[in-house]
């Protein structure tokens, strides 16, 4: 009896890598820490315990960095930028909070130091650039970012966001450099997926509770986790650790393809873990009630099914074949009122003050800036400068970054920057397509479909520099190239 219990416990522990279990414990223990010093202590403990498990300092710092970065906690040196001009006069009391350094940045600096030391000790061999990766446009984008920041009307804001952009690129390069061996790739992705599962579980719990459940991690930087739908004010849209449910749903759709694929393929990850992630993640995606993310998520799952599951002749488990329709039917009945409500309110999106018009005007304003300032406004300066040039009725009293990836880049870096960015995206799409249709590594397929989800959803939301979704896409991209 005792043996049986021990064996089943041990087999349960084998679902995840030891480092991933440490991260699970870290999340559970730290999600209610609201102050910085205990959080710093928890973070140091996380890295130290991982180090004791794998004896690799660089890998431990890398895994610790990923975990801390995703949780977005422990920011310090808070610097409020009061938006200029008529921002507050309009009653829009939403000063942009700029955070200069976070604990995750401290780990990034440590990691860079260790890697530079290692590079000069071991030579260039371990850190070769994947020949297919278009790194030159990225160097030019940063150079253009420097120029646009120098000429920006709000240089402090632009320099800060250029630093964030450089960090994102660096995260991609570091992922390419470090996550070459299967073991570290698995550990890194498990940490990312545990974060996704935590986010999804929190969304479900918040929906059941009808609001935030009272954790420090929900409140500290969001004020209120989740929001109420614009067109249906009684519909609560849970956001997990974010205020914006759209951000949560966008993050979830980046993980869904991998979760879906590995639910039915017995390689890389534990199928039960992946299936749990997929079921909870899909439910959370629906509960966030983000229409664009729903559509894109469904499309990604269909593509995953067509390109990977079907192509690889994966057999569905017996129970799924037998009870799949019943489960699906119950899910539809359970969610029908909310889905119908969101579909019916879709007509309001096309009203004069609806979301579609709002997004079109963002494009119009970004095009104006590209025409009048060919070298760009500077990074994330757009939302301040539209106040100078348009009446608040035009941008519907909501001065936010352009709700489109290309409009964001174009307004920030000018036409040159936009063309470079398009060139970069084009190269990634070409490479990603070849991986999808002819590659054999299904891990890469899942990751590249996640990146495709980001690209599609960013056509509706301002996710270019938003933490942590922008970091996640660079991590997935980096791991995909490292594993190619």
């Amino acid at each position: 009896m005792f043996h049986k219990i021990t064996n089943s416990f041990l087999s349960f522990l084998r679902i995840l890598e030891p480092e991933s279990w440490v991260y699970v414990v870290f999340i559970l223990l730290s999600m209610n820490i609201g102050t910085l010093r205990p959080y710093l202590l928890a973070m140091v403990l996380l890295v130290v315990v991982i180090y004791f498990l794998n004896k690799e300092l660089i890998n431990s710092v890398w895994l610790g960095f990923i975990g801390i970065y995703l949780l977005r906690q422990s920011k310090y040196f808070i610097k409020p930028y009061i938006a200029p001009d008529n921002y507050s006069a309009l009653g829009l009391k939403q000063p942009e909070l700029i955070f200069f350094v976070a604990f995750a940045d401290a780990l990034l600096i440590l990691l860079l130091y260790l890697l530079v030391r290692s590079r000069f000790k071991t030579g260039s061999k371990p850190f070769k650039i994947p020949h297919a990766f278009p790194y030159l446009p990225l160097l030019l984008i940063i150079t253009l970012g420097v120029v646009s920041s120098l000429l920006s009307p709000l240089p402090e804001v632009s320099w800060f966001w250029l630093l964030q952009l450089t960090k994102l690129f660096a995260m991609g390069f570091l992922a390419m450099a470090l996550v070459k061996d299967k073991s570290l790739a698995k550990k890194t992705l498990e940490i990312i997926f545990i974060y996704g599962l935590f986010l999804a579980s929190l969304v479900v719990a918040q929906k059941i509770n009808g609001g935030p459940i009272g954790l420090a991690i929900e409140e500290k930087y969001t004020g209120y986790a989740g929001r109420f739908a614009d067109e249906s004010p009684s519909l609560y849209r849970p956001g997990g650790i974010f205020w914006d449910a759209n951000l949560t749903s966008s993050i979830l759709i980046m993980f869904l393809p991998s979760w879906f694929i590995f639910s039915f393929k017995k390689v890389w990850f534990h199928r039960g873990f992946m299936m749990s992630c997929f079921v909870v993640g899909s439910l959370a995606l629906i509960l966030t009630a983000s229409r664009a993310a729903w559509v894109i998520g469904a499309m990604l799952i269909l593509v995953s099914y067509q390109l990977i599951i079907k192509k690889n002749k994966v057999q569905l488990p017996v129970w799924l074949k037998k009870y799949g329709w019943i489960i699906l039917g119950l899910l539809i009945i359970f969610l029908a009122p909310m889905i119908l409500d969101r579909l019916m309110s879709l007509t309001q999106v096309f009203r004069e003050d609806g979301g579609a018009i709002y997004r079109l005007r963002h494009l119009q304003m970004a095009a104006h800036f590209m025409a009048t300032r060919p070298l760009g406004l500077g990074l994330n300066v757009y939302q301040y400068k539209i106040l100078d040039q348009w009446k608040p009725e035009f941008y519907l009293y909501d001065s936010t970054p352009a709700h489109n990836l290309f409009a964001q880049v174009g307004a920030a870096l000018g036409i040159g920057g936009l063309l470079l960015f398009i060139r970069f995206i084009y190269r990634i799409i070409v490479q990603g397509y070849s991986w999808l249709v002819s590659g054999k590594n299904i891990l890469i397929k899942g990751l590249i479909l996640g990146c495709l989800g980001y690209l599609l959803v960013s056509q509706f939301y301002p996710w270019w520099l938003t933490i942590p979704i922008s970091g996640i896409v660079w991590l997935l991209l980096g791991i995909a190239y490292a594993q190619s």
């Binding site: 590079r119 690129f169 450099a177």
Partner: protein, 281 residues
């Protein structure tokens, strides 16, 4: 001829991903240093008045406890402990019997000059007249509106002409003791300089217009209340275009109500009967 493909290949062999990260941060740091050293650090003076609660309606001044916390010499520090703001002058004017205070202050700021936009910037906020600005002095936070930006204290009133003025104001229906107090009415600013002084006061029984039972409109005199005709000297007023301002905010055109507080008594309402302005510069 330089073969770009070969150059790229040989570069790819030599450069690693770590080098790329260093190059990225290198470009950023070089650009930032260029920006940082192009900026000029300057001490700038600004005049700051209280924040309007509503942008299109005259709002109330702040309550006394907030304004009285602010003193000349109060300083504020940035996040690395450097002194970046200091109150040089502060003018407080009584409103609503002293429960609220009009406030205007001169603040010295450690700012930077943005050579691109040609504006002064403090703590990331452009210093523009009409903008809101939040400053922290010791334990007090004050959000006000920038009224004036200048580099030297001498430039503070560069847009204005100084003058002295004499105004005659008629006040109706005052209590006798209030009317007597106006005889010695003197208002000083925070430096102790006289900005208003009574020159002459004529106190008469308050005029009353009454209507009798036949419908005749008659002039009569109140047995208790007094009317006052006071002549005030305003030794230092600021004029711009056709308008002159007493105490930085109040005009005194004929027919206009004129009010002032000395801290011990006040005059309120009334009507300006005449005003004489002598420009001193």
């Amino acid at each position: 001829m330089l073969n770009l493909k070969n150059l790229k290949k040989s570069l790819l062999k030599k450069i690693t991903l770590i080098d790329l990260v260093l190059i990225l941060f290198g470009i950023l740091i070089v650009g930032f240093l260029l920006f940082y050293f192009r900026r000029q650090r300057v001490f700038i003076y600004i005049d700051l008045t209280f924040q309007r609660q509503d942008w299109n309606v005259n709002s109330f001044p702040p309550e006394y406890w907030e304004v009285n916390k602010l003193r000349v010499g109060d300083v504020g520090y940035n996040s690395v402990g450097k002194k970046v703001v200091e109150i040089q002058e502060i003018e407080k004017n009584v409103w609503d019997g002293g429960r609220r205070l009009y406030v205007e202050m001169v603040v010295k700021l450690d700012a930077v000059y943005n050579t691109t936009t040609r504006t002064y910037v403090y703590d990331g906020n452009p210093l523009l007249v009409g903008e809101e600005l939040n400053l922290k002095f010791n334990d007090t936070s004050f959000t006000g509106i920038v009224v004036n930006v200048y580099k030297n204290p001498e430039q503070r009133f560069a847009d204005y002409r100084r003058a002295n003025a004499e105004i005659k104001v008629h006040y109706r229906d005052y209590d006798p003791w209030h009317a007597e107090a106006i005889k010695n009415f003197v208002v000083t600013n925070s430096k102790g300089e006289i900005i208003l002084k009574t020159k002459e006061v004529k106190i008469t029984p308050a005029e009353k217009v009454v209507v009798n039972d036949r419908g005749d409109v008659l002039l009569r005199w109140d047995p208790i209340k007094k009317d006052i005709t006071a002549t005030f000297e305003l030794p230092d007023v600021l004029c711009v275009d056709k308008l002159c301002y007493y105490n930085h905010y109040q005009t005194f055109m004929i027919g206009e109500a004129f009010w002032a507080d000395s801290g011990q008594t006040y005059v309120r309402d009334g009507s300006v009967m005449s005003s004489t302005i002598n420009y001193t510069e």
